[in-house]
């Protein structure tokens, strides 16, 4: 070794010595290093447009000669680093370069603002979830909101099935699909039966769940935004057949070179299931649903993408139970719902660095509810037009300008023997925003935005500043801060009698630390949310305009811990979320500050997934805990003085991957609340005291103590079945 090294340097020196004698030949030599002083081995160094070049050796040195005598560009490239380019003038002498290459933006673990945000994506690096996680989380049954409920910042509210974020009510979380607000993202249901999202997680390639401090591009949500991005062109044509214990779904996707069309129909019926499993509830009509979806994708020549999709859904169900005040009578709820949704967007390059996102969407929802005392028919419509312009100013700096306008229509008809009433409300909610993302070096990132909204119904304007920033401490760790004002139009419930109300308001303050290395993520977040101008109703004044005001206020504060490890266990993956919440506010019928019934102080989720190669199966377990919630017990003095028992749930699932007739098949089984924990979400009390002077009550609990689900999903693709 020693002697061959000596030999090599000897030959090198002869080469070096011989060079000055060749007149027009230029020797180019030097070394290449990273900013940290690490010598880069195997960098590609050459004169552009010529064959002359070399690689850097094991100590980052390079040399080569060239007979080229014109001005030429010296290129030094190395994977993961920005390419170095310099014009040189080879004149037969020796040129020496000591080059430090900067890491390329794409290879760097970039500083990103993570305060309040949980992202699921296949494309981006360092995200917390993959879209598949939503489908494979035990207990979620492929429902987006239920899966996200295993993340910190959410509260378990088992009877609703919707997202409750950091002490906020369900309505404070808005869902956006391709940038546009969704009027009714959850299916209709009857009381006590948790709602499911209308949209299948398979529709989306990216999910951004913000538990606060979200961007100025979105509005009208006091607490949280769930931002969903639909799939682009599918990879290939595929036919899907799903046979489930509760229904069936057929779908077909046809892919052409630049376009695709997908169509699906579904039918669901929980009747046979509930007949077998003796549910807690007495169904007059077991939940039944059917619907269909049609979607279209097209990619144009300028990398522009058109996306359209249309869905229709019909659902009906009915429950019967003994009347709380008159036990010999039967009380009931029924619900019949029809829902249509259209979403159409275009995303493309407009002109010179300007990107355009434009969209139109509309939802029409008709819900017919039946009660012992009468019927309510609610018809709602919301249509939105939206446009956003984006411009990349330079690396890491992006300007976004956008505007949208939503027309919503609300029509509610009461029909009972003693009262017939109708409410009709119309609102044009228009908004505009500007937002700038910028970076200072490689360590600092900032996002500053301003949003303004006007409601024609309220005749009010709001102006909402938002700002967030991140500072990268090291390769793996970073801090983020977020601050913003968030406004929301009061619910129709309060606007029905008077429109003399203002936007409700919440201010968010979020502090976040995130550490992300080799498939392990630790995330700590503390927050303070300041509620103001919440709509209130003073029941002492009755249904008079004077009873309604923006006099509610309060706070929610707490912290979240999230740990996910996909590395330590081969084929295994788990995450743990813990949220601490302290909240108190006056709102709605509560004119003095209370802890809302949907708030629980401690929430814990443990999600584990393990793939067993021997049996080609993935096994999943989810454990959830929530501390006691408040409820109002009219048999005792005071308000919200009752406490439920804490909530426990343990769910398990197994997905067996196999092939049927040569086609990719998943056999799926899942069980919710496997140990059969007693779950009490609250109590419903009667209005009339019994003979002893106390009010009768019944438990608000899950529709079935345990829920079992079985399904077979078959994907038929041409490629699978083609044999040469």
């Amino acid at each position: 070794m020693q002697s061959s090294g000596t030999m090599r340097s000897f030959i090198l020196s002869i080469l070096l010595l011989s060079i000055p004698f060749c007149n027009a030949q230029t020797l180019i030599r030097g070394n290449v290093a990273s900013p940290d002083g690490e010598l880069l081995v195997g960098a590609n160094i050459y004169l552009l447009g010529t064959y002359d070049g070399a690689f850097s050796d094991s100590i980052g040195n390079f040399f080569f000669s060239s007979f080229h005598t014109d001005t030429a560009s010296l290129i030094i490239s190395y994977l993961g680093y920005e390419t170095y380019k310099k014009n040189i003038n080879p004149q037969g002498d020796t040129l020496i370069f000591k080059v430090v290459l900067e890491p390329s933006q794409s290879s760097l673990s970039q500083v990103t603002i993570t305060a309040g945000a949980f992202e699921a994506s296949d494309e981006k690096k360092g995200v917390i979830l993959r879209p598949l996680d939503i489908v494979t989380t035990a207990g979620a049954l492929a429902d987006i909101a239920t899966a996200l409920n295993t993340l910190p910042g959410t509260q378990n509210v088992g009877e609703e099935g919707q997202l409750f974020v950091r002490g906020g009510a369900a309505y404070e979380t808005k869902t956006f699909i391709d940038g546009m607000e969704v009027l009714a993202p959850y299916g209709s249901t009857v009381p006590d039966v948790p709602a499911r999202g209308r949209f299948s997680p398979f529709l989306f390639k990216g999910t951004l769940f913000s538990t606060g401090g979200y961007s100025a591009a979105y509005g009208q949500a006091l607490s949280s935004a769930l931002i969903l991005e639909t799939q682009d062109l599918p990879e290939e044509s595929v036919t899907g057949i799903s046979l489930l214990s509760v229904g069936t779904e057929l779908s077909h996707t046809q892919r052409w070179d630049r376009s695709s069309i997908a169509a699906s129909v579904n039918y669901g019926d929980l009747g046979p299931y509930f007949q077998l499993s003796s549910p807690n509830l007495d169904w007059s009509r077991t939940p039944q649903s059917w619907g269909g979806a049609l979607s279209f994708r097209h990619q144009d020549n300028n990398a522009g993408v058109w996306k359209s999709f249309l869905t229709y859904n019909h659902a009906r169900m009915g429950l019967e139970f003994p009347h709380l005040d008159y036990p010999d009578q039967t009380d009931f709820f029924t619900n019949i719902n029809d829902n249509y949704y259209l979403n159409s967007t275009y995303k493309g390059i407009l002109a010179q660095k300007w990107m355009l996102e434009a969209g139109i969407s509309g939802m029409y929802d008709d819900e017919k509810q039946g009660f012992l005392w009468g019927d309510i028919d609610t018809r709602q419509y919301a249509g939105e037009l939206r446009g956003v312009l984006k411009r990349d100013l330079n690396s890491g700096t992006q300007l976004r300008l956008g505007a949208n306008s939503i027309h919503s229509y609300f029509n509610e008809e009461f029909n009972s023997p003693d009262f017939i009433g109708r409410t009709e409300l119309n609102d044009w909610l228009s908004a505009a925003f500007a937002e700038l993302d910028w970076k200072l070096g490689n360590r600092w990132a900032f996002r500053t935005g301003l949003r303004t909204e006007h409601s024609s119904l309220l005749e009010r304007i709001n102006i909402a500043p938002r700002a967030s920033m991140a500072y990268k401490l090291s390769e793996y760790g970073q801090f983020s801060l977020a601050y913003g004002h968030y406004y929301q139009r009061p619910q129709y419930e309060w606007l029905r009698v008077t429109q003399e109300l203002n936007f409700e308001r919440a201010d968010h303050y979020i502090f976040n630390y995130q550490w992300n290395k080799d498939n392990r993520i630790l995330r700590l977040e503390a927050y303070y949310k300041d509620y103001n101008r919440l709509a209130t109703f003073d029941s002492n004044l009755g249904f008079q305009p004077e009873a309604y005001a923006n006099s509610g206020a309060g706070y929610a504060k707490g912290f979240d811990i999230f740990w996910r490890d996909r590395k330590s266990i081969t084929y295994g993956d788990y995450w743990i979320s813990y949220s601490y919440l302290d909240t108190r506010r006056s709102f709605g019928e509560f004119t003095e500050a209370i802890v809302p019934t949907f708030a629980s102080k401690h929430n814990l989720s443990v999600v584990a997934k393990y793939f067993v190669p021997g049996i080609s199966s993935q096994i999943g377990m989810t454990y959830q805990f929530a501390s006691a919630r408040n409820f109002e017990n009219p048999n005792q003095p005071g308000i919200l003085q009752g406490r439920t028992i804490p909530f426990h749930n343990l769910s398990a699932n197994i997905s067996y991957l196999t092939s049927l007739w040569g086609q990719y098949t998943i056999v799926y089984a899942s069980a919710t609340n496997l140990p059969g924990f007693k779950q009490v979400f609250g109590y419903r009390y009667g209005n009339v005291p019994d003979d002893q002077g106390s009010f009768r009550r019944e438990v608000i609990g899950p529709p079935a103590q345990r829920f079992f689900f079985l399904g077979i999903l078959i994907s038929i693709t041409k490629a699978n079945s083609v044999q040469p």
């Binding site: 994977l79 290939e236 793939f611 080609s616 067996y656 092939s659 699978n720």
Partner: protein
Amino acid sequence: MYEAMGKTLAQMGQAQDANAMHQVASQFERIAQAENEQWLPAYYSSYVYAISSFMTTDDKPKDERADKAQEMLEIAKALNPDNSEIYALQGFVYLSKLVVAPMMRGMTYGGRVEAAAMKAVELDPNNPRGYYVHGMYVSGMPKFMGGGPKAACPLLTTALEKFETFEPSGQMEPNWGEDGAKELAVDCATEN
């Protein structure tokens, strides 16, 4: 150009590890930028970057090299669109992306590998590399997804038949894969 290409092809034959392959790929890249109207240097650069990615064990450089292979392939594709060899190589490059994270990328990149391989066969049914790349993918795919060496047998047999009769149209034209196909075919014959 032919001399430089020939030398580099010879170096490729001698390269034993990922870094040596990477250097060969970079050398092809240098030729490609000098001869920016020829598709073959970019094609080979892409092919060898993909091989160096396959030979690399660490995820990050593995992924970067696969991306580089795609970047060079785009250059070759722009110079010679609708060429069967380009699509066969595209399948190979997608496969190099897939194996970086099979659990996460299997669904998307698997479809892409198959679509590219099928396009290669469609453009030239006599090109063995379309079948070979498809067979490579099926062979490595888990059994429960309808893959495995046995499932790949028909594709590999067809590839070998095509290799028998395949004659590249020029000395530098793509002519790789026969040995690899034979090796995989042995696996498929021995598996029960």
